[in-house]
């Protein structure tokens, strides 16, 4: 018995020794790692899986070209379950892996903001394809987003409600998360600013995300006389709200945000989401050949159309790879950060150029749902 134990421990020691001796020799050929941190399970897994698919697709297209400086790209996925607590633990996990210098993610602004300080401390680039909370990019200079700040998007949503749909009595229904609360506040302020157009907020209801029954809130909005409802939430809020609202008022207009641009919205909402409108910065039916190529490839690979945020994740990964290629490698964090900050990247979501905060400015396309498909608002309205 003792002999066996001795033998085993020797084998272990040798194995460990070899491991240590071996690793530096292999480092030169080590792949470039990029992390995707997003909800891969749970309610918002649709988005997280989209992020992962998009980044994998971008990585594969680089690998086909021979990688970066002969090194292949490896995508690692981390599931944050869209919870801030999990987000921080994922961030620490990523920080403990010295090879990962860039994270694409997280999804919800609240999770991004919980995780961002860790990335900033370890000088890891975080590019969120979806965070739109005003305070997110201010957390540090390593924190970027390839999404517009919610102020601009809220303006575009209100523009749809007031100018395109011609409604004045605005009801707001918002989810009670960091993002939801701050966005609802921004929408209210914007309505006040445009008071001369006659638009007013008649009622505002906060709901718990995922509580499924929004009828009490809807009854209140309806009694306050809302004729358009701004839905501050994801597709899983917009779909049930439109369905439940249309039971008591079939003429209600629902306006959402770009994060409801997802095939799941139509699947879950069915007929009731007809006419739901929202602004996006990426539209899969655009005439741009670059977009069409991306959409075709994505469809072939994953069997569904990419959503706006998926496209933003795709470009985010592209930005990082381009910066690494220009620089030669990813070892010098500060140089990498500067490279990304100064980069002008031409992708499927238009031209991306980060400003001094790490934010981007993009133009919006207005989209609505007609006959179970996403169409441009002007096309949908004219028919």
């Amino acid at each position: 018995m003792k002999k066996v134990r001795f033998l085993l421990s020797m084998i272990l020691i040798i194995a460990v020794a070899f491991g240590i001796v071996n690793s530096p020799a292999a480092a030169d050929e080590a792949p470039i790692k990029i992390a995707v941190a997003a909800p891969l399970t749970g309610d918002n897994s649709e988005y997280g899986i989209g992020f992962y698919n998009a980044v994998t697709m971008m990585a594969e297209s680089w690998n086909e070209k021979g990688g970066i400086q002969g090194r292949s790209i490896v995508v690692e996925q981390f599931d944050d379950k869209n919870s801030p607590e999990e987000g921080v633990s994922v961030a620490n996990k990523i920080a403990s892996d010295k090879d990962i210098r860039c994270v694409i993610g997280h999804f919800a602004s609240g999770v991004c903001m919980a995780a961002a300080p860790t990335y900033q401390d370890y000088k890891i680039i975080e590019i969120s394809p979806s965070a739109s909370h005003p305070d997110y990019s201010g957390i540090g200079d390593f924190i970027f987003r390839n999404n517009t700040v919610i102020m601009h998007e809220a303006k575009a949503s209100l523009d749809i409600a007031v100018n395109d749909l011609g409604k004045k009595n605005i009801g707001i229904i918002s989810i009670k998360t960091d993002w939801g609360v701050s966005t609802a506040g921004i929408v209210k302020n914007l309505v006040e600013e445009m008071a001369d157009s006659g638009a007013t907020v008649v009622a505002h209801e906060e709901v718990i995300e995922g509580s499924d029954d929004y009828r009490p809130a809807i009854t209140k909005l309806h009694d306050a006389g809302a004729d358009v409802v701004i839905c501050v939430g994801m597709y899983n809020l917009v779909a049930p709200v439109s369905r439940q609202y249309k039971e008591i008022n079939p003429d209600i207009q629902i306006v959402g945000f770009s994060n409801s641009y997802s095939e799941e919205l139509i699947k879950l909402g069915g007929e009731s989401v007809e006419g739901v409108a929202f602004p996006v910065i990426f539209f899969s039916k655009s005439d741009d050949p670059k977009v069409q190529e991306f959409v075709a490839n994505f469809k072939e690979k994953f069997g569904s159309e990419p959503s706006a945020l998926t496209a933003q994740a795709y470009d985010s990964a592209g930005i990082y790879f381009t910066a690494v290629e220009k620089l030669g490698d990813e070892k010098d964090s500060d140089a990498l950060r500067d490279e990304i900050a100064n980069l002008t990247y031409d992708g499927v979501t238009g031209t991306t150029k980060f400003d001094e905060n790490g934010d981007v400015q993009k133009s919006f396309t207005k989209v609505t749902i007609k006959n179970g498909e996403f169409v441009l608002l002007e096309d949908g309205a004219s028919k």
Partner: protein
Amino acid sequence: MLLQQIMNGVTIGMTYALIAVGYSLVFGILRLVNFSHGSVYAFGANSILFLISLNIGIIPAILIGILLTGILGVLIDKTALEPLRKKSAEGITSLITTIGVSSVITNLLIARLGSQKKAFPALFPTGEIIVGSIKFTYTQIGMLVISLALLICLLLIVERTKIGLAMRASEQNITAAKLMGINVNFVISFTFFLGGMSAAIAGTLVSSYYNMAYPNMGYTAGLKAFAAAVLGGIGSLPGSLLGGLVVGISESFAATVLGSEFRDSMAFIILICVLIIRPNGFLGKKSIKKV
């Protein structure tokens, strides 16, 4: 608007009552809070949605789903709880086991069906009847009628049939019932079967009301129904109905008066208030020995 909110509350309260019945029945006989009940409810709704997607027709899908969920209830008892009873394990062991079972069922559902919310077809035609200032949608009326009919059925089974007599006998004294020649194990299985079926029916009604089903739907619904069962007096069927209605209506009012964000905590606030005054709930019997 006040009446409308009451109506909204009554509708959802009835389904809480249906779930609460499952807690009550099992507690009555085994003196055990079966925390796997919420996941059984989710299983009912999700399996029916899955069966509907197989295109076997909505009615057969629902019937098979209800039956399957009833069988799941029996399976839980046979695999997880009966072995513990045979070894006369502590009550707390069974309690923890049911929490574990609940986690197993939910995660199996996620593994098989994915965790996203899926659209659930409407079971009732759209449309409404307006009485005075209240609108009753057909869905709400359908839910009310079915839940009420089912609760009356359950009450009749327990009060008027032979198996019901056996259930009540086991409830009073399980050892004495055994000595009188009652097949107690069968009675327990039957109880779990009834609980599972009523949970599946509640799951179907709620999913069709909200137009969606997903594996995690049982968590809050299960807790609220448990609160309803305790509120009405756990072990009493009319108590479950009363508890369910109180929880449903108070939620609806909380959403109107205090704001929607208070909705989900209302069941527990009421529960605490009532239990301070009446520790056995509205219609509960006194002298509960173990929990």
